[in-house]
């Protein structure tokens, strides 16, 4: 057990004893990673802010239940991932309704003939991934989580996480197949 974890346990104990400054230190130590994860998952600054707030509020309100069996950071990220995914589902439902309304009132724009560049295509392909695959892909390949951490956060096994990642990569390769020639000849 390293010094940082011991220090965090001390901070947690102090938060539970009513020390707000200790809470602030815990928050400062983890907020960036949670915020960037939220931003990575939703791509919108305001939403990332909302999700981060919710994640910390939920974590602090559950702090008395934290047993210290996992590192505080892992425990917090489990909560954060859950908050973000739930939030995204709500946002998606809302966005779909908005999109239907937009389609109803908008005149179809001219089809774009220009091929979007790979980066844009990849972003769209990631957006189009099934939620589970997308989450695992972002957590693993982009944010650097291990399958064990992902399993804990998503309440799935590490094997399921690996399978989801494999499926996500395969779908991305399929989506970007027309770029394969360029890349192969690079």
């Amino acid at each position: 057990m390293d010094g940082q974890q011991l220090d965090e346990r001390e901070l947690i104990a102090r938060v539970l004893a009513g020390d707000e400054a200790a809470g602030r230190r815990l928050y400062d130590a983890h907020v960036d990673r949670v915020f960037w994860l939220a931003y990575r998952m939703c791509g919108r600054h305001e939403l990332a802010q909302d999700f981060t707030q919710d994640a910390f509020i939920r974590a602090f309100s559950r702090l008395p239940d934290y047993r210290g069996e996992a590192a505080f950071g892992s425990w917090l990220h489990t909560i954060a991932v859950s908050v973000i995914l739930n939030g995204l589902q709500k946002v998606k439902r809302f966005d779909q309704r908005e999109a239907l309304l937009d389609e109803a009132v908008m005149v179809p724009s001219a089809t774009r003939h220009a091929e979007p560049d790979l980066k844009e295509r990849l972003a769209k392909a990631i957006d189009a991934l099934p939620e589970g695959c997308r989450t695992v892909f972002l957590l693993h390949d982009v944010e650097g989580y291990t399958h064990e951490e992902i399993g804990e956060a998503l309440e799935i096994t590490a094997g399921t996480s690996k399978a989801q990642l494999s499926r996500a990569r395969a779908k991305l390769r399929d989506s970007l197949a027309d770029f394969a020639g360029e890349w192969v000849h690079d």
């Binding site: 539970l16 809470g23 600054h45 602090f60 980066k119 990849l122 972002l138």
Partner: protein, 306 residues
């Protein structure tokens, strides 16, 4: 098969990963202060909420890891133990037609008389009873004898198990100067009830102290529910103790009865954040009965739930 160039998975995956880092790439500053404004009340609530102990990691190899259990889980285990004890007492021991005997107190003004029951056993003899008094402490501590009576089991002391409630036939224990009482199983039963009573009082004291500390603060529904669960478990233990020999001591009985009343109020009002009037009601019940001072004085200094 088409002649479309195929991905070579490994290097292409690596390219995809590198490109994916650009996906929703964070930029700008994290709005720490703005978010903290919304989060700070939750931190305050965590500090005033009912806090379960945090597990402390092993600091050095070989140091035994301390077990930390959330209060309500602990009290649930205690309640289960008490239920088992009371059931065994009623179902196993009661059919043996106890003979009531008035028991003299051994000595000293602070000791009191306890009504006791002698359960004669077919195999019990005077020699057996006599020999049980001189049983070594190691035998007394044997777990198997905690509930079941030995053939020599002659008497059960009916109070909480303080050394004051003794059998007149017992002799002073030369080992520590205190009075040995009953048989080995009697001593274990007393110890069981004494331990259960003490643990319940420790939990009750912690709960009420925590409750009082939270009294003036607004609390979220989750904290209130958690306190409610904890109170419910302590209330269950209290009621079981009221039904057990531990409550035959009038002092403890009065304390358990008052405790039961206050805990029942807390449990009843734990469905939602407390209103000021409800808090006042509970506060008054605690204050009028001097509950916390009595609880604290009933516990030995430094008593913990561990």
């Amino acid at each position: 098969m088409t002649d479309t160039p195929q991905w070579n998975d490994e290097p292409m995956d690596a390219r995809l990963r590198a490109l994916a880092k650009q996906y929703n790439r964070p930029s700008g500053e994290v709005p720490r202060e703005a978010m903290w404004l919304a989060i700070a009340p939750a931190v305050r609530a965590a500090g005033t909420g009912v806090a379960a102990p945090i597990a402390t990691p092993d600091i050095a190899p070989g140091v035994r890891k301390r077990r930390h259990i959330v209060p309500y889980a602990w009290t649930a285990a205690l309640a289960a133990g008490l239920v088992l004890g009371v059931m065994l007492e009623r179902e196993v021991l009661a059919p043996r037609a106890p003979v009531s005997v008035a028991v003299q107190h051994a000595s000293g003004d602070t000791q009191h008389v306890a009504a006791t029951s002698i359960v004669p056993d077919a195999g019990a003899t005077n020699e057996g009873a006599s020999s049980s008094v001189t049983t070594a402490p190691s035998a007394i501590n044997s777990g198997g004898a905690a509930i079941r009576r030995t053939p020599a089991a002659g008497q059960r002391v009916a109070t909480l198990g303080t050394p004051s409630a003794v059998d007149h036939s017992t002799k002073p224990d030369s080992r520590d100067g205190s009075t040995a009482y009953g048989t080995e199983s009697d001593t274990d039963a007393q110890r069981l009830y004494r331990l259960a009573a003490r643990q319940t009082l420790v939990q009750a004291e912690a709960l009420l102290t925590s409750y009082r500390a939270n009294g003036g603060q607004p609390r979220d529904a989750e904290s209130v529910q958690q306190a409610g669960r904890w109170a419910r478990d302590v209330l269950t233990s209290t009621r079981l103790l009221l039904d057990s020999p531990a409550a035959k001591d009038p002092q403890f009985r009065a304390l358990f009865t008052d405790l039961e009343l206050v805990l029942a109020q807390i449990v009843q009002l734990s469905g939602a954040p407390l209103q000021a009037g409800e808090r006042e009601l509970i506060e008054r019940a605690m204050h009028d009965r001097d509950l916390l001072p009595r609880l604290r004085s009933a516990l030995p200094a430094g008593a913990t739930a561990d």
